[in-house]
Symmetry: D2
Subunit: 278 residues, 4 copies
């Protein structure tokens, strides 16, 4: 996800410093005019005023931002770190605290949309943080997506919003998995059942595309790998635990994902957890 | 639901015989030109070629069609019974068998849409049965709805399709209930979370309207009462049991509905089962 | 189950009339002194004062008691029907009503224990009904089991009690299934985990025997077949629905049983539903 | 739990150094002959060869063992740390690694039993670790409990075993909660249902005592507070996630516990989560 976003920032006319643990991943960006650096800290030390991070796992965020040679070490006071990774509420709070201690500014701006939406600058950004920092980021957000939802001053709320959205997507997958399995086993072809749903009440691309994947059992190549999906559901459950909200459907999905992983579906799309229903 | 449908048939130019257990419910139809009769059997005996039934509970269908003075007693061989009630697969099969024994024809045509859609002739009809019988019914279907989905020759498949749709609606309610509860308790106002969902991935009236009910906790007056919702989920679970398909999300919803009924929510909208999450 | 019970009644000195749909199943009883008759009704017509029924499915009970040539047709007023089948609350109420209408007496006395306990007259009887009728049955109960629990005047309560017991057994199986799967996959051998449980907090034959079946994956021959187990859980869920009590663990077990049946475990022991966890 | 255990070690004739964050909690032990010290590290520095830790939360263990002035700082190479807290598998592994790095020995020995069992030296110890270290600890284990189960060389397995046991207890509570609620609401008094269970298949103190608490709704004073119970279920779920084992019953229990906490049951016994069923 980070590459197409970075490319859009370059196209927007920004000077861009880039870092990735695998240097080769930055080559296309360097070819397009970015400057590769040796560590996240160096991005800060070279005077970047606004720094986006987009990573896969919480542990990578901890390492890249708070670890040795991490961004927090190098970022100048007053500069902004925009975290676009899907993070848990707790880690987002910890980042906020660590940046505050150093006089750095911190904005959470996770995104909705897959790689193709990122490439087309059609992402939705869910942004929260200090209003001035958000205003400073606004031109960049406009280069990355079709719309920014501003969700207040507490960055962790933007992360929560992203978890809520991903939970809703997973819930849609579970619902479709059960509905289409029931249909297919009872004599109503899955595609006919899906057409019925998408041409009446559920006329949205999300239902069409996941319904199609499920009906065709086309879970590879993965648009979003199952272990990453499990991570997001785990973070939603953790947010629920903190707020003392039971999320029984999220628990159900988590259990199906675990069973799917135990069956070796690690490299399949996250929607493949519906196979455990079949 | 039956009244606005009957009115549309009248407007379409049909001669209409009507029966309801409470005679007063037929008065507006009689005022509009329908003829009230004393029993379902009499509708048949007076020579009706196509008879629609639309009732609330399976027991009412059994009584009105198969009981003493029921439609099956009076319907002439070759005439068609169109059952629009949300029925289980088993009862639909039994109706098919009873009509077949008597040389009568049977079509299942449950509908998607509430009372306002019925009044506006904007229903979706999910129809299955003998193709010739379906062709005979087509002009009437056109007077009742905006589109007819033809789902093959086995009437029970149309009933199954309706159960699949209602399960998907209930699943959407459960998903929204969990998502908005998590949001609200974590500091993201429910309406803001809902707007985020409906202006990005879930841009459909269904999500907007149920989301609005949930955020506003406006479960009365009921668009569709909770006990009827429980009936539909129970029928979906029974269809699953027959096909040996576990529907864990449907089980979850059923359990929430039962808890909601135990708390006295009998007269509230079926979406009110999300209150057990709060 | 019926055969060893009948044999114990014979041993107790009773004259015994027997009926089974498969006549050959009554042969060992006839050899032991019982008289086979041609229908349940005939048992009544020949003047039996106390008649036990023990069957597998609710449909069999309906046929044998309430159907043509069923017991209710022939049983003399004042005679007692003792129903030992695991029935649902609704059917038990219907039997009570049908017998009452005919002046017959009705007692529900389902049993705890498998075939070997029946043979050894070590069953537990859960009995409810009219106190005088229960007193009349007491000598027979003493010939069948080690102890009778008297649960009041409403026969349906005895059936409910039996469903509660069977739910608790199924819940134990589910618990052991999850616990031992977690242990085994985490490096603690299942038998060691089981020993730990049964030599400390769970020192009962039930946990030992099911734990042993699960650890050894020895689900055949079936002590109690999976479809019968599903029937009992379904009846417990129906009782819950009537009382508006959600039983989420029973729902979970039902879903696992359905998945197990879909995988072809129809002839395995009911405890085999834990295989879906593995 | 730590106090009665410490007292038994004193009675066994050991010289005992004690530490607790609240110094006053050590007073009765000091009165009985123990010597209070100022930090966990000091216990080690004064030459203790075997050190037991028994704490409530994982965070307390991390602080007391691995934090500043923690035990790991002061413990001499070759000395043994026996961790009796209910820990997760991951933290147990981390302790093992940290002690190994320092040449210290580490044994996990969580216990089964409440405070009264601890006082009576009737605990069960679930012990794992290096065999020589276990042998060194054996005399102390004998002073603390009625039996030690030795579970191999990997300390984390003893922690897992404890989580398996606590899950089984929680599963019993959930089962009883559902069974007794169904009984009570259907007309079978809860105590009668409980007696039926405990005098037939479930004749163990665990079922009797929790059944009695549930039937009497006597959840205060807490034998084991709900937040601690939630901790244990969370750790079991985390162990399941690591081993890719779905534990749907544990998920169900977790959700009920969260709902119970949201209703303010924080200071009630952990079995009080069954109130959400009622």
């Amino acid at each position: 996800m980070g590459s197409p976003m970075a490319l859009n920032l370059l196209r927007g006319g920004s000077e861009l410093l880039v870092y990735n643990r695998s240097a080769e991943k930055t080559r296309p960006l360097v070819a397009a005019g970015a400057v590769a650096v040796a560590s996240p800290a160096e991005i800060g030390r070279r005077g970047a005023r606004v720094v986006f991070s987009m990573l896969g796992e919480e542990a990578s965020v901890e390492a890249a931002i708070l670890g040795p040679d991490g961004l927090a070490e190098g970022l100048a006071p007053g500069s902004v770190h925009v975290s676009s990774t899907t993070l848990g509420v707790a880690l987002s709070r910890r980042l906020a605290e660590e940046h505050r201690r150093r006089g750095q500014r911190y904005v959470a701006a996770p995104v909705l949309g897959r790689r193709d939406a990122a490439a087309a600058a059609r992402l939705y950004l869910l942004a929260a943080g200090d209003p001035v920092a958000l205003a400073d980021c606004a031109p960049y957000f406009a280069q990355l997506g079709q719309r920014t939802f501003t969700l207040g001053e507490d960055p962790a709320i933007a992360n929560l919003a992203k978890l809520v959205c991903n939970f809703m997507i997973a819930a849609t997958i579970e619902s479709l998995g059960e509905a289409l399995t029931l249909a297919g086993r009872s004599g109503l072809p899955q595609r006919q059942a899906l057409e019925l749903l998408t041409e009446t009440l559920f006329n949205v691309p999300l239902v069409k595309s996941y319904g199609e994947l499920i009906a065709a059992e086309r879970f590879s190549p993965a648009g979003f790998r199952l272990p990453l999906g499990l991570k997001d559901i785990r973070l939603a459950l953790a947010a629920g635990e903190e707020a003392r909200v039971a999320l029984p459907l999220a628990s159900l999905i988590r259990d199906h994902m675990l069973t799917a992983l135990a069956r070796g579906q690690e490299d399949l799309d996250w929607s493949s957890f519906v196979k455990v229903l079949q």
